[in-house]
Amino acid sequence: MKSSENAKKITRLVTMGLLSGILVLGQLGMAFLPNIEPVTFLIIAYTLVYGKQVFSIIYAFVLVEGLIFGFGIWWFSYLYIWSILAVLTLLLQKNTSTVIWAVIAGAFGLLFGALCSIPYLISGGPGAAFAYWAAGIPYDILHCAGNFVLTLVLFRPVLGVLKKLNAWQKSSLLARSFSAEKPE
């Protein structure tokens, strides 16, 4: 019993680490394209498959991003931005349409600048926050378009792979716990 519980915990830990690493690599891999990133649709997919466990993935990702790029003012916005996306996904998880998820991902891209401007509201006042947000609108629109297209194209395949991985892990752990309980 205990060994199967431990196996479950280890599997979960490794999976969350792997999925965080995929977020980091995906973001780094597309860093040369301004505001085009796979993190949004990946977090949506992760949330739909792993539920609230996505928060451990998100904060591992945020920590690694801070270690790579430095803990600047942008990092504080990362502490809440991705969690907002995860909460939104949990609220809308009954949706099965890829196009609707693409719209949600696009809308999140549009809101990204506004959400990032909150630390500037605190540090520089409403004028600074508004100027920061308004100047970035073209980039938010680009972010929206990138999120929309990436989600439309990759969401279903990636979701399928994650669901298979999750199902396989669960069945492996179940088989392991039955063999552990089997009397000799």
Partner: protein, 135 residues
């Protein structure tokens, strides 16, 4: 089966709403962006280095934005960021990221809330680039 027209309607409404928000944001951007000034202009740039020494440059340009004017003069180098060029080197001094160093743009000593590529310039204006330590 019956749900298909309903779902299709939801999808069309969602896409239309997204397009409407994009159009609204474009309007906000158009009415809030600083007005650019065309034609020849002269601006002054003061560069304050880490050792507090400063150099002053008079720039004659017909560019509309600060970033391109400085790039033409080969005074700055930078990386492409989400808001245009992120200045990393000014007057041959490079900010050391590991020490939380960065180049701060000010205009007549006052904070500028846009990147160099998004800061419109006009004749007679004075800008400062100060190597700052700490975020």
């Amino acid at each position: 089966m019956k749900n298909e027209p309903k779902n299709r309607k939801k999808i069309i409404l969602a896409v239309a709403a997204l397009a409407a928000v994009i159009a609204l944001l474009l309007c906000v951007y158009h009415f809030t962006k600083g007005k650019t000034s065309q034609g020849a202009k002269t601006i002054t740039l003061e560069v304050v280095h880490k050792d507090q020494s400063s150099n002053s440059f008079e720039i004659h340009t017909d560019r509309e934005y600060l970033g391109e004017a400085l790039t033409d003069e080969e005074l700055v180098e930078g990386e492409n960021g989400p808001y245009g060029m992120f200045i990393t080197t000014v007057d041959k001094e490079t900010a050391d990221d590991a020490n939380q160093e960065w180049w701060c743009i000010t205009k007549n000593g006052e904070q500028v809330n846009t990147s160099a590529d998004q800061t419109p310039i006009a004749d007679g204006e004075k800008y400062e680039l100060t190597l700052t330590v700490g975020y």
